[in-house]
């Protein structure tokens, strides 16, 4: 299965990855070959097979509703590329 360059750009946009034209060419090839590789699944009959998303098929454990964490804003903000007044800063968001 192969995909075209527009598909590649569309996926890259969804995934927020800036691709140059060259990148897109290259990814078009490599994505197509991966998709070809996974294509062989389609020939397998999986009717009536329940999908398995967790190997142990355990169930969710519940946490008591208690506050266990202190405020560590300073430590977390230390890794931020840009911050001010306790806020993470990003280029202007326009709704």
């Amino acid at each position: 299965m192969s995909i075209n360059k527009q598909d590649v750009q569309k996926i890259a946009h969804l995934a927020r990855l800036a691709l140059t034209e060259e990148d897109a060419d290259q990814y078009q090839n490599s994505l197509s070959s991966v998709l070809t590789l996974v294509e062989q699944m389609q020939s397998i009959d999986t009717d009536g097979v329940e999908p398995l998303s967790n190997p142990l098929e355990m169930t969710q454990r519940l946490r008591d509703d208690v506050v266990t964490e202190d405020n560590r804003r300073g430590a977390f903000l230390a890794n931020a590329p840009q911050s001010e007044a306790g806020l993470f800063l990003v280029p202007k968001v326009i709704d």
Binding site: I3, A15, A18, Y27, L31, S33, Q40, M41, A78, P91
Partner: protein
């Protein structure tokens, strides 16, 4: 000292024949002398290591501590370590110093081990050769022109070259076992849920599992004593109580039923590797085990299933790397979208971007059923194969990889070929069972690993089986030339 086992070192530390500071200094010296050839460490934390060594010595002085107290080990650079750079092999986290500690590293630290540093790896654990690291490829100590395997290649190379007594690794599709095999060390991928994933930077959440990498099964058992067990901070952590991994390590293998899946010995397997594996199996027969052929009919499907599930989960797991709260942000973003697009394109390497795109595609509208859901159904078929087989036999054996370590750069142009090399390891992660790689011989002076797979939560059994084999063989005691005489 660099070739000694944890048991032996622990004894000398306890008897004060050596101090942890001396031991740590010796390893730091080896790293500074040898690692320029290997590039197995991204960060060497000398200061912290010596601090921890001093603290360990103080404990030992009072007759306290565990068998890991004072033992210098290394951590794969995707375990978050508080105050120590944690890069995940990526430019994206070039400057990331976590303000928190992963459960695995915290437990090992609690046990008193000394952290020498953080080991190199394929970026975000995506790769089987360690060539996908922003910090450069790692070399195999057995032949510097070959790869150490991946993604835990730095850990494997460091342990093989005596640059750490042992190391942690993670295994999503073979990332502990394949590098262990290529570098001639012992590695264990535990049952999914056995070792906490908290603080372990996620690649594919339903497949990732941390585990020990060391010279021997016994050393792995020592690490498992500290690493394994329930963690309330990880919803996927199993509440099944963890075992004493050393208690039955000496049990006899008489009557052990070994299954050899015929699909593991078909086309594509190097004949010398096949012979090495069969020789190892014979050794087990000598130890009283019986062998029978079994079948894992859906083995081939593990490749497509894995290469849909892992990238899908990864595409979502890696969305948090957006340049907002941590990690790389591009220079002068012209707007928000530009910041996202360029920060991520600059921060992630090609293989990571490719897998993110594969996953994004597989989950996108109109494709979900054909890709993701289909892969999850096949995943169940693969699990059922193992469940059926393990009703008949105690352990399953086979090769870890079709060949020994390949040359650097030889497969970078054909990534799909590289994916096919994972054929013997992927299915274990899909099923969630534990498996080991155990040194079983050499082909053209390059190590070959025997894979031993077992039932859910049978880690102690696997370690027992591997340890008994290692009592009879010395493949795990071999040292690469470059590491000798230093």
């Amino acid at each position: 000292m660099s070739e000694q086992s944890i048991s032996s070192l622990a004894k000398q530390l306890k008897n004060k024949d050596i101090s942890s500071v001396e031991l740590t200094q010796a390893f730091l010296k080896r790293i500074s002398m040898l690692d320029s050839q290997l590039n197995s460490y991204i960060t060497v934390s000398d200061e912290l290591a010596l601090q921890q060594a001093k603290a360990a010595d103080a404990l030992l002085q009072n007759g306290q501590g565990t068998s890991l107290t004072g033992i210098p080990i290394a951590h794969k650079d995707l375990f978050c370590t508080q105050g120590t750079l944690t890069t995940c092999g990526s430019k994206m986290l070039n400057n990331f110093v976590p303000p928190y500690e992963s459960t695995v590293t915290s437990r090992i630290q609690q046990a008193g081990a000394v952290m020498l540093g953080k080991t190199n790896m394929d970026e975000f654990a995506m790769g089987s050769s360690n060539e996908n690291s922003f910090y450069g490829a790692v070399k195999n100590p057995w032949n510097l022109n070959t790869v150490p395997g991946g993604s835990s290649g730095g850990s494997a190379a460091a342990v093989a070259a005596g640059l750490a007594v042992a190391a942690t690794g993670t295994d999503t599709g073979g990332s502990i076992r394949q590098p262990a095999s290529f570098c001639g060390i012992t590695g264990l991928k535990p049952t999914y849920g056995r070792v906490s994933r908290f603080g372990m930077i996620a690649y594919a959440s339903s497949l990732d599992q941390g585990g020990p990498m060391a010279k021997s099964a016994e050393d792995c058992a020592h690490l498992m004593q500290a690493m394994a067990g329930f963690d309330e901070k990880d919803s996927t952590s199993s509440e099944t109580s963890s075992e004493d991994y050393l208690a039955n390590i000496n049990a006899s293998l008489t009557g052990l039923k070994i299954g050899l899946p015929k699909e593991y010995f078909g086309d594509g397997l190097d004949s010398d590797v096949a012979q090495t594996i069969m020789d190892a199996v014979k050794e087990f027969e000598k130890l009283g085990a019986t062998v029978k052929e079994i079948s894992l009919p859906n083995l081939q499907l593990s490749i497509p299933s894995y290469y849909v599930i892992a990238p899908s989960e990864a595409s979502s797991n890696l969305s948090r790397f957006d340049g907002v709260r941590f990690g790389h942000r591009c220079d002068d973003p012209k707007d928000l979208l530009d910041m996202y697009m360029r920060s991520r394109a600059e921060g992630f390497g090609q293989e990571v971007q490719k897998r993110i795109m594969v996953g994004t595609y597989a989950l996108s509208e109109g494709y979900y059923d054909a890709y993701y859901l289909k892969a999850q159904k096949i995943r169940r078929l693969i699990k059922e194969d193992f469940v059926n087989a393990l009703n008949e036999v105690d352990v399953i054996m086979g090769p870890v990889a079709p060949t020994t370590a390949f040359e650097l750069g030889s497969k970078t142009n054909d990534p799909v070929a590289m994916y096919l090399e994972d054929i013997y390891t992927l299915s274990v992660n899909l099923a969630g069972i534990p498996a080991m790689s155990v040194p079983a011989g050499f082909v053209n002076n390059m190590p070959v690993g025997l894979q031993i797979m077992g039932n859910y939560f049978a880690e102690a059994k696997l370690l027992n089986v591997a340890h008994q084999y290692q009592q009879q063989t010395d493949w795990h005691l071999q040292t690469p030339e470059m590491a000798k005489g230093v």
